[in-house]
């Protein structure tokens, strides 16, 4: 039987890993992700979770352990954030390039310099081009559910998945979370079948030096060159959209909770302005939409749940009739604009949609973002758009002079 417990986002992530019966966990502690693996290590130590918990000296080694374990057929999990994730960066590429369905809980935190332990999404956005699928969660229930979905997606498309959620805002905030029954999870999540098993019976060279060109192996088979293999990764991520959507749908049927596949919408149908974001900021946007509607402004919210692969079609569908779009995000691509804003604009370009889009950089390094501040920002954008300003970048609640 499923049951409800009051728990933090970190505990919800740990529960997701436990229910997925992960076989190998490796982690190095870093605030605010530490409680995820602390919780798991207690379960392993007490014998409540039959897994190998491998302690290492750094996040770089964490991901090498995950890559190795996944290569020999183990379901593998880790959690990290910020500088830990950045330290892992090289191995994130190795995990994706090796097509290993590792799941990582990324507890979004700002990156230095200067030091910050507080929340923004710069850490995972900076890993955008590593070939990992990225899911951004809104609440603690979605964290648990997304970890389960992540394994099912990853093990079908053979790509690693990062389940991202905002540090402290979700990681250390307690909410009621329904813990599904183990048997129900087992029915939803079939065992991991690796695409290759490294075993002494059938020795292989994994990831040898690959030349630019295709090459015949010793048996005369024409083997892929580097670029052909990299195209397969791109193709897998492009095609994973269908698997992500289908997994969300089947999860909803099995567990009665639908978190949206690639993207979710709130009061968008008649909206004169759409507020877009990811993670807890997008949840805040729904409250802002309510506030604005209370004032007679028909606002709606769009949450990008999966950032990679980018929901190109869903974004076009959601924004095609919007007279104005305001994108709030907790990251900045220095020297340009918010990464989400750029990607939304790029998706609309192909569909010929010329909606005015304003970009707000908000909440970096944990600066508080309140729904009424979002509503106020949207009002200022609507006034500027009415006056003909189609493009604008604003740093919310920030000294910029």
């Amino acid at each position: 039987m499923s049951h409800v417990e009051i728990m933090t986002g970190n505990q919800a992530a740990a529960w997701g890993a436990k229910l997925a019966k992960v076989q190998v966990i490796s982690a190095y502690p870093i605030t605010p992700s530490t409680p995820v693996t602390e919780t798991i290590s207690q379960w392993v130590e007490r014998g409540e979770l039959k897994s190998e918990y491998i302690r290492v000296e750094s996040e770089h080694s964490v991901m090498t352990v995950c890559v190795s374990a996944s290569s020999v057929g183990a379901r593998t999990f880790t959690a990290t954030c910020s500088h830990g994730l950045l330290y892992m960066h090289e191995q994130l590429h190795w995990a994706a390039g090796s097509r290993l369905p590792i799941v990582l809980a990324c507890v979004n935190r700002g990156v230095g310099a200067p030091w910050s332990i507080f929340n923004d999404q710069q850490d995972s956005i900076a890993q955008r081009d590593t070939g990992w699928i990225q899911i951004y969660c809104r609440d603690n229930q979605e964290i648990l559910d997304s970890v389960l979905q992540a394994y099912r997606i990853a093990e079908q498309v053979y790509c690693p998945v990062m389940v991202c959620y905002d540090g402290f805002i979700l990681s250390h905030t307690m909410m009621p979370v329904e813990i599904p029954a183990a048997e129900q999870v087992d029915r939803f999540l079939p065992p991991y079948k690796p695409h290759t098993i490294l075993s002494p019976e059938e020795p292989r060279n994994i990831n040898p030096v690959i030349f630019p060109w295709q090459r015949r192996d010793a048996e005369g088979v024409l083997r892929d060159g580097y670029m052909d293999i990299r195209w397969k990764l791109q193709n897998a991520l492009e095609k994973s959209r269908d698997v992500i959507v289908e997994t969300g749908r089947e999860f909803a049927e099995a567990f009665g909770r639908d978190h949206g596949g690639m993207l979710w919408t709130y009061l968008t149908e008649d909206a004169e302005v759409l507020i877009a974001g990811m993670g807890s900021l997008a949840t805040e946007a729904t409250t802002a939409a309510d506030i604005l509607r209370g004032e007679g402004i028909r606002a709606g919210a769009v949450g990008v749940r999966v950032y990679r692969p980018f929901p190109r079609a869903e974004v076009r569908e959601a924004f095609k009739n919007a007279p104005a779009v305001v994108v709030f995000e907790k990251d900045i691509s220095y020297g340009y604009e918010g990464a989400l804003c750029s990607d939304i604009k790029a998706a609309l370009y192909g569909a010929g949609i010329r909606t005015p889009i304003h970009n707000f950089i908000a909440g970096l390094g944990g600066r508080d973002v309140k729904a009424r501040e979002l509503a106020e920002a949207v009002r200022s954008s609507l006034a500027a758009i009415a006056a003909g300003t189609n493009e604008r970048q604003t740093w919310l609640n920030c000294v910029t002079e």
């Binding site: 390039g97 090796s98 097509r99 053979y158 695409h195 290759t196 059938e202 020795p203 292989r204 060279n205 994994i206 990831n207 040898p208 030096v209 690959i210 030349f211 295709q214 090459r215 192996d217 010793a218 048996e219 088979v221 024409l222 083997r223 892929d224 580097y226 052909d228 293999i229 397969k232 897998a236």
Partner: protein, 97 residues
């Protein structure tokens, strides 16, 4: 029809030639003078410093000593180490021969 590479990541079975035939990297080819090579002269297994020092492991310690030119990259270490000066590195011409 040609067999397609169905692997989704890079891998191969360990086999001779799997790392690529590296002999074509060579600018100079080692040539053994068997009238000087100690193993050939004594007509029994002997010396084999060329075999010991070859970084690619492509010298066969036999009588006579053999060098696999499919893989020899032409580094010249064998010629340098040979105590009998039995190995000469012959530079290739500009035509690559």
């Amino acid at each position: 029809m040609e067999q397609k590479d169905d692997n989704i990541s890079a891998m191969c079975k360990p086999a001779v030639g799997e790392a690529g035939r590296t002999g074509d990297w060579r600018d100079a080819t080692p040539v053994i003078d068997h009238s000087k090579c100690i193993a050939s002269v004594k007509n029994r297994p002997a010396c084999y410093l060329c075999w010991l020092y070859c970084p690619d492991g492509i010298v066969t310690a036999g009588v006579p000593v053999r060098i696999d030119l499919e893989y020899c990259k032409g580094c010249g270490i064998c010629a340098e180490e040979c105590p009998a000066k039995a190995i000469t590195m012959v530079m290739h011409g500009e035509d690559g021969k």
